[in-house]
């Protein structure tokens, strides 16, 4: 049995609009798009021209800086258009999918438990499945030439309205286990899995048969317990120079399919959640699918914000956008652009706050319908101890942020910059009285230390 870790600091944001446990198929759109900006720090070099025929699993571009990172198409069809932005930066590669059955590039099948590490590495890179494996520090796609200290898979998501991992994996347990076995070999046996002890929405030990149990860790407590960064911090903290890899459970399934079916099949289950969704539930979709296919006709208001991901760390999106590579959840909440008369003075029974300055704290079980209003303007740091309440790490958040703002690399390292990622600071940003853009500061710090350090 692995470690048993109880997370005390954190906060579960209770929102209206959790997904009901039913999955509907959404047919493939008439056009799908692959978005290179989904992959931070990747400089795309195209391998196909408009008009070219591609198969599902065929590489369509690679990274100029790391040519062994190849990005493959999730569908078969014809490349329709390359959408470029400023300075000819590639924003989207649009593909017209085949009307009939999808044609796949056939990769060799095989039980990953019987394959060597080199074989597994090769197959993952050829198929584009490699891009599901990311690394800390920096949260980028892992470097296949590194040997990681360990690989982590967080088997539950504690974010607001997050998808139920057990439900999402449920239909494809075999692929999930096959994927884990491949990762087990990649990690030289150091594959750490984290499950939540109380939550019914966590993959449980009974779902993980056939894997060594000494690296299955049991967590308890509120969000961000499900963040892989928090789990790494408590299980095997990163020191300078070390690298760990992590993979999302849905991506483990896709890796498993590669070995058992010999195909790069990228379809996934996405939860459509939030208070502006008429009937929140799960949908079976392809990455690159048009957002309007998923949200169209399913929202209660047009004046709402569509977010790919959860409301803490997700990306702002729109109906014209396309589903991103890593999206597992879409959240739609009302926009909050209406001024409120003396809003800071009212009792606030319906206002969500971690502090008890609003009377809503007397109703702890209430679920909130929250909009995107900032509830105040940005100010200098005034309150102290707020961030510490929601960051379950042995890190002094405000001092780290100040070191980042001062661009002091030595101080950042001393205060633990290698262990953190923007998403771990998302709750800090949420609670911040001074409305400071905490995640942005952390991202800048990580980028600075990666390029200058």
């Amino acid at each position: 049995m692995g470690k048993s870790i109880s997370i005390r600091r954190g906060y579960n944001i209770k929102l209206e609009g959790a997904a009901e446990k039913t999955t509907s198929e959404i047919p493939v759109s008439d056009i799908i798009a692959i978005k290179p900006p989904d992959f931070p720090s990747v400089v795309p070099k195209l391998l196909v021209e408009p008009g070219a025929e591609v198969l599902a699993g065929q590489a369509i571009f690679f990274d100029k800086n790391r040519p062994n990172l190849r990005f493959t198409s999730p569908v078969s069809g014809e490349v329709a258009e390359i959408v470029r932005g400023e300075k000819r930066r590639i924003l989207e590669i649009r593909i017209l999918p085949d009307r009939g059955d999808t044609r796949y590039v056939e990769f060799p099948k095989g039980d990953p438990a019987k394959l060597g590490r080199g074989d597994i590495l090769q197959r993952l890179q050829d198929s584009g499945c490699w891009n599901y494996i990311r690394q800390r520090p920096y949260s980028l796609i892992a470097d296949p030439t590194d040997v990681p200290k360990a690989i982590f898979v967080s088997c539950f998501d504690s974010a607001p309205l997050a998808p139920d991992m057990r439900f999402v994996i449920g239909a494809e347990k075999e692929n999930f286990l096959a994927g884990l076995k491949a990762l087990q070999t990649l990690a030289h046996g150091h594959l750490h899995l984290s499950i939540h002890e109380q939550s019914k929405e966590s993959i449980s030990e009974s779902d993980l048969t056939g894997l060594p149990t000494e690296n299955t860790h049991r967590f308890s407590g509120p969000h961000p317990a499900g963040n892989v960064g928090i789990q790494i911090h408590h299980i095997s903290p990163i020191q300078k120079g070390e690298v760990v890899w992590y993979v999302h459970p849905q991506d483990v399934v896709i890796i498993g399919r590669l070995f058992l079916e010999g195909r790069y099949r990228a379809d996934r289950v996405v939860a459509l959640t939030g208070s502006s969704v008429a009937h929140p539930q799960y949908y079976h979709v392809l990455p690159g699918q048009r957002m309007s296919d998923i949200t169209g006709g399913r929202l209660t208001s047009t004046h709402s914000r569509i977010v790919q991901g959860n409301i803490l760390t997700g990306q702002k999106s729109s109906a014209d956008d396309f589903l991103s590579f890593n999206t597992n959840q879409i959240t739609v909440i009302p926009e909050g652009d209406q001024p409120e008369f003396l809003g800071w003075l009212l009792p606030g029974f319906k206002k969500l706050s971690l502090s008890r300055t609003f009377f809503s704290w007397l109703l702890p079980d209430r679920k909130y319908k929250v909009d995107t209003n900032t509830h105040g303007e940005e100010r200098a740091f005034v309150m102290t101890g707020q961030y510490d309440q929601v960051l379950p790490m042995n890190i002094l958040p405000v001092f780290l942020l100040k070191a980042i703002l001062a661009r002091d690399i030595e101080r950042m390292e001393q205060l633990g910059i290698y262990e953190v990622s923007e998403e771990d600071f998302a709750l800090c940003e949420f609670v911040c009285t001074s409305k400071i853009d905490v995640q942005k500061i952390v991202a800048e710090g990580l980028e600075y230390i990666r390029t200058e350090g």
């Binding site: 909440i333 003075l345 105040g376 405000v398 409305k435």
Partner: protein, 385 residues
């Protein structure tokens, strides 16, 4: 409220870039955001935000100050009528105190906010909410007899030198309200000590009672602590002193509000009280047996009740900007404030109101305390596996 919003919308263009009053924008913005929480939405990062902002935080502190304010007003009247030996109802006492206190509060807010607005407009930064609390703290720390021009001077001094020269709320390293009081204390000692604590403006046909003394308990304490008011009088606040400081009970209600709302640091409040108690007990242990009236013999818990200790510990030491910022630092900071207060009171009769000086001293040391805590944290991090 639609018509108010319409008015704001119609005049807003004049204050925005290119408008006639472009330079006055920070002032306009402050008024606008005071009336309406702006309809601004999140741009990047998190998509929803906690409902609490700095205005709400400051309102919570003001609510916490209300008990001391109300009691202080009543006590001003009570002490006045006591000095003349007059019978007075509760309403009489309160009304007298209200009339006497209101001008001080109005002057403090008007002058301080005025300076803040002018400074923000000159520097082009938004008006911060910090003064909402400072403006009420200043009157509560002053004797009711203070001349209004001194209140104005203190408000100007604290806004300029206490805050704005460092960059505004959040950048200052000392508590602005305490700085204002310290300024008056050292600049105008005649108005800040002696027989000034009770308003003895003449009452028609009445004379001061025999044996009236304007000395506060802290002065009595230095000569012979046995002559002080009873512990219960000091706890409830039936004594002379600055407007808001006398009642420990009212301060404790405020402390409760601060702690429940999460606005004030309970660590700082508790550690201040513990620090004073520990130092008081220690001095009791070392007190010279042959001098039974020596201040070292004062029962330790008296230090909680005397003077402005509770007020300082609850409302002044907890100012998050000037206090220590680390969890452990807060405990050290609070304990030292408590301990220094007692030491100064007992051994330095020149400065009976020691809590003010202790807090200012620890404000200066707070960054050092934090530095040590952070260094320890780094060392511990390095020792991990």
């Amino acid at each position: 409220m639609k018509f108010l919003q319409d008015i704001i919308h119609s005049v807003k263009p004049h204050f925005e870039k290119g408008g006639r009053f472009e330079k006055l924008y920070p002032g306009f913005e402050a008024l606008e955001t005071f009336l309406f929480v702006p309809g601004e939405t999140t741009k990047h990062g998190v998509h929803i935000r906690d409902a609490m902002d700095l205005k709400r935080t400051m309102m919570a502190v003001i609510f916490a100050l209300v008990p001391t304010l109300l009691f202080g007003m009543w006590n001003v009247g009570y002490q006045h009528h006591l000095a003349y030996g007059m019978e007075a109802t509760m309403m009489d006492n309160f009304w007298f105190g209200f009339i006497k206190t209101l001008p001080i509060i109005v002057v403090s807010y008007a002058v301080g906010l005025g300076v803040e607005f002018v400074f923000s407009i000159m520097r082009g930064h938004p008006v911060s909410e910090g003064y909402l609390v400072t403006g009420l703290l200043i009157p509560l720390t002053l004797p009711v007899t203070v001349p209004l021009w001194m209140v104005a001077l203190a408000a100007i001094f604290c806004t300029l030198l206490g805050k704005e020269i460092f960059g505004g709320t959040g950048m200052n390293f000392m508590n602005p309200a305490l700085l204002a009081r310290a300024f008056l204390f050292f600049a105008f000692p005649a108005y800040m000590s002696g027989d000034i604590w009770t308003d003895i403006s003449p009452e028609a046909g009445q004379a001061l009672i025999d044996g009236y003394s304007g000395a506060t308990n802290l002065v009595a304490f230095d000569t012979n602590f046995h002559n002080m008011a009873s512990a219960s009088d000091m706890f409830w606040g039936f004594e002379q002193g600055s407007i808001g400081e006398t009642s420990t009970a009212a301060c404790l209600i405020g402390a409760l509000i601060l702690i429940i709302t999460g606005v004030g640091s309970w660590q700082v409040i508790v550690s201040c009280f513990l620090g004073a108690l520990a130092m008081g007990l220690m001095l009791n242990g070392f007190a010279p047996a042959d001098l039974p009236n020596h201040a070292m013999h004062t029962p330790a818990y008296y230090h909680w009740l005397m003077g402005g200790f509770a007020f300082g510990a609850v409302y002044m030491a907890t100012d998050p900007v000037s206090a220590a910022q680390t969890e452990r630092g807060k405990w050290i900071y609070g304990l030292l404030i408590g301990a220094f207060t007692v030491i100064l009171r007992v051994f330095n009769p020149a400065y009976p109101e020691a809590v003010m000086l202790s807090i200012l001293l620890m404000n200066v040391f707070a960054p050092l305390i934090d530095h040590i805590v952070v260094e320890q944290h780094i060392k511990k991090r390095l020792k991990r596996v």
